[in-house]
Symmetry: C2
């Protein structure tokens, strides 16, 4: 496993036992989270916006309108912090103090760059579509030159990153363990509901492979 | 409905038709999201961390260890941006370009303050516990003075906030509407799995009301 080791910025200080610096762990979290939160500094103040991301190897890509404030900011090479968080469960201890959540989060710090190369841009847009729902890129109408021009793509190298993970049962104070209070974990997960075809697709077209596979991969476990 | 109107910071520029500035809409999103992402500026660079929040009236509260870098930063009155995002569905258009997500997000800007008053601090900690799982505060062992001292609470007034919401079907180009490509929405939701009691609770204690109600409120719809 590749490991980058913590930098002063990525070193997890609180609950350091939850820290992970291996790229396999970080990449798995980035790839599983459907969206990220991008932080940047605008006129001295922090701004945090949700957006779709996609990872290709050692690079994170973001896309949007050329009018996007975030992308216009990022393409100038401004510092950015990208954070993704997956909630896996509510951890109910016998005290509020020791109650927690099970989660997996990853942070990537760095400066982004505009993607000007057409091939890289196309690969990034494909990756973004496939990140949301694998298999969809080959089902949709191919992207046009006009759409390519109307889309801005920026890239962020995954050079400085860390992950933080909590899993498992609550940890109560020893004195609390015999209290007659239920303690444990409520798992939470993201599941897919029944697809809603638009008018023209209804009763005419079968659900495509991407949708069938996504539903199977996001069915409720219980 | 209270409406604050956009400020230069909260005015939604892209997809302005998705913007909402009424507090009822903003509050509902803040209350539904289990966690938020807090952005602040540390040594000139953006930092985005996930954390639990809770709203009491016009105030957002955050809690944690006095050693938390985020809380130590916030309690000095530094500028903060708090963003919450709920994903409601994948919007599959007939082109990648028009594909999207259905979501509800809210942003709150401002400067936080340390909560020193004991009553306000206690109410905030209660709100945080109840935010995660309503009814839990009265089930757990009461908080101790030692735990109160070991917890830092900061408050952020909801003075400058906005929301952005996308709902409904995909919007394809007119020329694409007759293509034989399935289009529609895959709803996604967060559901609760089967609770995992810790060793001491197993076979001895019944699931408490908070857990039963949470599961009922987070059951898969399909």
């Amino acid at each position: 496993m590749r490991s980058q080791g913590p930098t002063p910025r990525t070193e997890v200080r609180r609950k350091a036992d939850r820290a992970h610096y291996t790229r396999d762990t970080i990449d798995a979290i980035l790839d599983t989270a459907s969206i990220c939160h991008v932080g940047f500094v605008d006129d001295g103040a922090p701004v945090v916006l949700p957006t779709i991301h996609a990872r290709v190897g050692d690079t994170l890509y973001f896309h949007g309108s050329p009018a996007s404030r975030m992308l216009r900011h990022l393409k100038t090479g401004a510092e950015v912090c990208v954070t993704v968080t997956l909630i896996d469960g509510l951890v109910l201890a016998r005290s509020a103090f020791n109650s927690s959540m099970n989660y997996r989060s990853a942070m990537v710090f760095g400066t982004a760059r505009l993607v000007a190369d057409r091939d890289e841009k196309l690969a990034a847009l494909r990756a973004v579509t496939e990140h949301v729902i694998p298999g969809r890129w080959d089902e949709v109408r191919p992207i046009t030159d006009k759409e390519m021009k109307a889309t801005l793509v920026v890239a962020l190298a995954i050079d400085e990153a860390s992950a933080k993970v909590r899993a498992g049962p609550p940890h109560d104070e020893e004195d609390d363990e015999d209290l007659p209070i239920w303690a444990g974990v409520i798992p939470v997960e993201t599941v897919a509901g029944v697809p809603v075809p638009d008018a023209a697709s209804r009763d005419v077209l079968q659900e495509p492979g991407s949708v069938i596979r996504y539903r199977a991969g996001h069915a409720a476990e219980s």
